[in-house]
Symmetry: C2
Subunit: 393 residues, 2 copies
């Protein structure tokens, strides 16, 4: 099952590039349909492009598990696909245990979880829960200027039906997302799996620094309005303020206009990703970073505008499902995470949801070096199978 999926969207670096509604995404979907067919499961594509493979007829109080198949640029093999592969593997294990499900079971692959192409994460689940506005979402453009609705149409998905999909969500009795851990907490705790308690509030802010393009070889330092200087100070300020706040702040994407070696930049656009244990800390942190950036930009003769591109509040996973899963699995460690997930979007919409993490020996994620040991993956499948059996059999 893994071996068939691995070549899809693989880059020379060993990392993956599986952006939503690209050929790589379509190849992942084809793989999903093949795995479902092998198990005699019917596949629905819902109005937002999420894939559902059903064991038994779709219906209420179903056990749903899954994750996503898309990746960040240069992402690893596990982030997303491990949850989908484990879902199918749990179905095999359930059958091996001789269980005949009394309730429907589905494996789901949500569309465009990473937001790598259109800049907004968890689009498939956000659209289905109504958290994302269809018209605004369909008008999002990728870096080539292609609109989301055009990208969908090009792959044969009609965007006219995109939007909230309560019917699809009401069938869910419990949703369990299994995901590779994206830090090293389970390593330190010596546990192969853990349960998510919460997702930190987080967001993305775009920093547009506008200076004055000029010749790098002839413009006196005193005559410059160089936005690269303001950006550089902002990167360092973000790190320092995050450290002081016990939170996270990262600049991982920056573009320069015009971007010539011998040209002082006219403009620098950069994206701040920030996360914190609670909303007040996050607000204070991003306010402090923006204030320091604005002050420095003023000294550099640079205009700065800061735009919030997305802001996601704290998600607490529901206590009922958390305690149910903890009891079933012998009380594994519980941990909060800074990463957004479709499970968080569903939990915020009131869907009964739990989330399992599988240990990541290095903690590395969103990188080709992302990894999980086979024994830990099997422990994840066993845990998922146990929850599936308890709910459906």
């Amino acid at each position: 099952m893994w071996a068939d999926l691995l070549p899809v969207g693989r880059m020379g670096s060993g990392g993956f590039r599986r952006f939503a509604w690209t050929a790589a995404d379509m190849a992942c979907r084809e793989w999903f349909r093949g795995e479902a067919a092998t198990r005699g499961m019917d596949v629905d594509t819902d109005r937002n492009g999420n894939l559902w493979a059903w064991l038994g007829p779709p219906g209420p109080d179903s056990f749903v598990t899954g994750s996503h198949l898309d990746s960040v640029p240069g992402g690893g093999a596990y982030d997303g696909p491990l949850g989908v592969v484990s879902g199918f593997a749990a179905i095999d294990a359930l059958r091996a245990r001789g269980c005949t499900p009394k309730r429907p079971i589905a494996v789901v692959a949500f569309t465009d979880e990473e937001g790598a192409r259109f800049g907004v994460a968890c689009l498939g689940s956000r659209l289905s829960t109504g958290a994302a506005d269809p018209a605004r979402t369909l008008a999002l453009t990728d870096s080539d200027g292609t609109r989301l609705d055009e990208a969908m149409s090009a792959q044969g998905h009609d965007p006219v039906h995109v939007g909230a999909d309560p019917g699809a969500l009401q069938r869910i009795g419990v949703f369990v997302e299994l995901h590779v851990e994206q830090g090293r907490a389970l390593v330190d705790l010596g546990a192969p799996i853990g349960l998510a308690t919460a997702i930190w509030p987080h967001g993305r802010w775009r920093y547009d620094f506008a200076g004055e393009g000029n010749h790098a070889g002839t413009t006196a330092l005193a005559d410059r309005r160089d936005p690269m200087l303001s950006y550089a100070m902002t990167v360092l300020a973000a790190r320092k303020q995050a450290r002081l706040a016990g939170a996270l702040a990262t600049f991982g994407k920056v573009t320069v206009d015009p971007g010539g070696t011998n040209a002082i930049a006219a403009g620098v656009t950069a994206w701040l990703d920030s996360r914190a244990p609670d909303e007040a800390t996050l607000t204070d942190l991003v306010t402090a970073i923006a204030a320091q950036a604005t002050e420095r930009a003023g000294r550099d003769g640079v205009r700065l505008s800061v735009t919030a591109e997305s802001e996601t509040p704290l998600v607490d996973f529901p206590a009922g499902q958390l305690d149910w899963a903890a009891t079933a699995l012998g009380d594994p460690p519980r941990l909060a995470t800074g990463a957004g997930h479709d499970a968080g979007v569903l939990a915020r919409a009131g869907v009964p949801t739990a989330m399992l993490f599988v240990r990541n020996p290095t903690g590395v994620s969103h990188s080709p070096a992302e990894h999980a040991d086979q024994d830990d993956c099997l422990a994840g499948v066993a845990a998922l199978t146990e929850l599936m059996v308890r709910h459906a059999c």
Copy 2:
């Protein structure tokens, strides 16, 4: 003449994008041939792709003037083209004065002066003087991976003959390059034109920072090896060290791998452009910047390699031509510049060379805001005409 050239390679921003061996470059060359034909001048394309428009048969002790037609990304209208346009305008003025040249006159457009596409400046003049190795130069690639020899072939120029061209240079009795000033020295001096004394030593250094790609939302700050931090400190260190040295240092181009909003960068590559009044100052400056960058990278868990991509020593324009031009033009101000020029490459190769600057009211260059007033442009043409008449008539 200007009006015909202006639309070529023009971007939405008003800036220009005329990279060597692109369709925009070919359109500029077509314009050059048209201007030459209008004046009854024959056009040669030499082995390196430089264009020569001859008034009278090519021969020894000729008066040659000109500059280049290519641009940096988002460059202005004057950098390069002003020298070529003024060359043709000076020929018109020479004829209006009733002069019948006793020596040949040529207007030249050197290929790929900016180095915006293949990363090395003054390729046309460097190849002709033998300062650039043909095999290494032809193997240079642009950002799409296209090699220079492929780019030449695609535009119908056979790269097999590329290399030193002493025959073309030996015809030059004196070469005068007219160029818009790229700073504000002539504004402060209240003079429409000036004469170049020297070109500061300068170079480009590539900084490759290699860290560890990881998830921006889940990786503890202490576990990160984030090359963006090392880069940011280097930008600020370069500025500070340049200020202390009375020199220039600029980071105007940076690329990030993978460049995702929610991914800590695995790698950052950035280009340092640095220039100083003398070679010892430049060496000390780039050494100090590299040392600070390396120290910071070490603290960030990041590996840094610094590669010199080009280094150009000090050029003093020859005293004979400088004094000759100064006498002819009533002793205009003399100034050194931090910008490289084809005239500098020729002067270093022993070609008798002088260089004229035309006042730039804002000092802005390599930007759509680059400008020269019409009266100052006409003063430049008048000066060029005077030198042309003194040498050729």
